[in-house]
């Protein structure tokens, strides 16, 4: 298992989530645990709590995981998903208040240098503070 903080990308659109994940892989590389999901349980635009839970498992790292979300339901459903993972993992998962594409790339860049969960989160959130 990677020692680097994991990144989960949650968008209403699977295309957006996959596209952001492609950018992270190309720009940052393979040494950051990464997973993405998008679309509601019926296959339309939206998000799925179960899919987020699976992504959290795929991108899990003992250093923690940041979740990048696009809007509204993606954030609420991510908070629900956190409640459904094993209790000892929950304190190490944060939903990030940053732009989904740039935030994912910045968070991954920070994570690939071995930064802590808090520093990874701040790298993505600073983009909104500028």
């Amino acid at each position: 298992m990677s020692k680097n903080v994991g990144i989960v990308i949650v968008s209403h659109s699977p295309d957006v989530a996959k596209g952001a994940a492609d950018m992270v892989r190309q720009m940052v590389g393979m040494n950051v645990p990464l997973a993405w999901c998008g679309g509601n349980p019926g296959g339309g635009l939206g998000t799925s709590v179960e899919a987020i839970v699976r992504s959290l498992d795929l991108a899990w790292s003992d250093a923690g995981v940041v979740i990048m979300v696009d809007m509204g339901g993606a954030e609420t459903n991510s908070e629900m998903a956190i409640e459904m993972v094993p209790e000892k993992r929950r304190p190490k998962i944060v939903v990030c208040n940053g732009p989904i594409v740039e935030g994912a790339v910045m968070a991954a860049t920070e994570s690939s240098s071995g930064a802590t969960l808090d520093r990874v989160r701040r790298a993505a959130e600073e983009l909104y503070a500028r």
Binding site: G44, G72, E75, N77
Partner: protein, 207 residues
């Protein structure tokens, strides 16, 4: 009031049917100030509830409502999933004497559930959300007495949904519109009103 499995089943079926029948209207309201999926999302959620209604209603009412909540959380796909899911689940969690429910039990459970929704949605009364129906409806239920109580709660919920029309949205997608969110009923307030009305109608035939 006692909830045997047929009663529980009919209550849940009535709520689900009401929401599913109004799905198009809810989606249209959401098209005006949101992302045009509220009705479709709730329809998917309540159809998932109906698909396992036998198993759900075989349980005591508190466990049944928790299961309804969990099903909505997993199947809705929008913010309304966790919000309605937590509403039902929290009411279920706090029905301390499910074998014989009184108004006091229900009021207390609803108070807890509304608190959870406020935290989860980071919202409160006046933000043009489902809370603008649930809070006044609960206030009315608390104050109401004797015959006509359910009618008063239903009427208060109806008024409260209409009162969201001039409000400016503070939460959700509609908040991006600022003043342009005025003049439209909040879709979450409307779905809440429909559910409250359906519950009142159902209870009137049983009490």
């Amino acid at each position: 009031m006692k909830f045997d499995p047929p009663t529980t089943r009919e209550l849940i079926r009535t709520i689900a049917a009401t929401v599913i029948d109004s799905a198009d209207e809810l989606t249209e309201l959401d098209r005006a100030i949101g992302d045009a999926d509220h009705g479709a999302n709730l329809e998917r959620g309540f159809k998932a509830v109906l698909a396992k209604i036998d198993g759900i209603s075989a349980q005591p009412i508190d466990a049944a409502l928790r299961e309804v909540g969990k099903t909505l959380i997993l199947s809705v796909g929008g913010a309304s999933g966790p919000l309605y899911g937590k509403l039902f689940a929290t009411i279920g969690q706090h029905l301390t004497e499910p074998e014989d429910l009184t108004k006091a039990h229900v009021v207390r459970a609803c108070e807890q559930a509304i608190g959870v929704i406020k935290t989860l949605g980071r919202s409160d009364v006046g933000h043009k959300t489902m809370l603008d129906v649930h809070v006044p409806a609960l206030d009315q239920l608390r104050a109401a007495n004797g015959a006509g109580s359910l009618r008063q709660v239903r009427e208060r919920a109806n008024e409260a949904a209409v009162e969201t029309i001039p409000m400016i949205a503070q939460r959700g997608r509609a908040s991006f519109l600022c003043e342009r969110s005025q003049g439209h009923m909040d879709p979450g307030a409307r779905s809440s009103q429909l559910i409250v009305s359906a519950i009142c109608d159902f209870l009137e035939t049983r009490l």
